[in-house]
Amino acid sequence: SQQGEEDPQALSIQEGENATMNCSYKTSINNLQWYRQNSGRGLVHLILIRSNEREKHSGRLRVTLDTSKKSSSLLITASRAADTASYFCATDDGSGGFKTIFGAGTRLFVKA
């Protein structure tokens, strides 16, 4: 079973709107990461938030982490057509090892 699961599976919004994606996970983690994947390409790292952090910003991205609920959210503000992509959360598996476990992703479509 997957450590991280994103919600919703797919999201369609208009350009200029905000997009929010959620990730839930099962075990204690050291950090949580968000990645973007454009169609047919490799994943690109967006942001890493550590377990002792609650919120982090990077440009138009805002990530929150609630370790008590084992959940994270990714907010993209003022979305653009170029933000159309799949977004994945990733966590370590809680065992202390080197593995990173990815969720199945949220497909975001931003209409121009």
Binding site: Q2, N30, N31, Q33, Y35, G40, R41, G42, L43, V44, H45, L48, F88, A90, D92, G97, F98, K99, T100, I101, F102, G103, A104, G105
Partner: protein
């Protein structure tokens, strides 16, 4: 793509044949990973390496083996390819344990 290449980029092979995929990095990163990506499953870890000659299994390692004789190269071998191994394979590298990963462009493998 952060000094990471994969070869070949596309391959069609027959059931039962051995196949080797190569990941090459120029970043001198310690950690290297092989993932497969299938619709509805996100990325699943096959094997990873935490140093030269140091490798371990991921969540879907059956039917795959790896080798890392140099820092820059991480090879993934399908010992006897099956149709269920038709997938897109991604290599990733990381400088830190459970840190941000940088992905290669992917190899699309079709087993007929």
């Amino acid at each position: 793509d952060a000094g990471i290449t994969q070869s070949p980029r596309h391959k069609v092979t027959e059931t039962g044949t051995p196949v080797t995929l190569r990941c090459h990095q120029t970043e001198n990163h310690r950690y290297m990973y092989w993932y497969r990506q299938d619709p509805g499953h996100g990325l699943r870890l096959i094997h990873y390496s935490y140093g030269v000659k140091d490798t371990d299994k991921g969540e879907v390692s059956d039917g795959y083996s790896v080798s890392r004789s140099k820092t820059e190269d991480f090879l993934l071998t399908l010992e006897s390819a099956t149709s269920s191994q038709t997938s897109v394979y991604f290599c990733a590298i990381s400088e830190r344990d459970r840190g941000e990963q940088y992905f290669g462009p992917g190899t699309r493998l079709t087993v007929t």
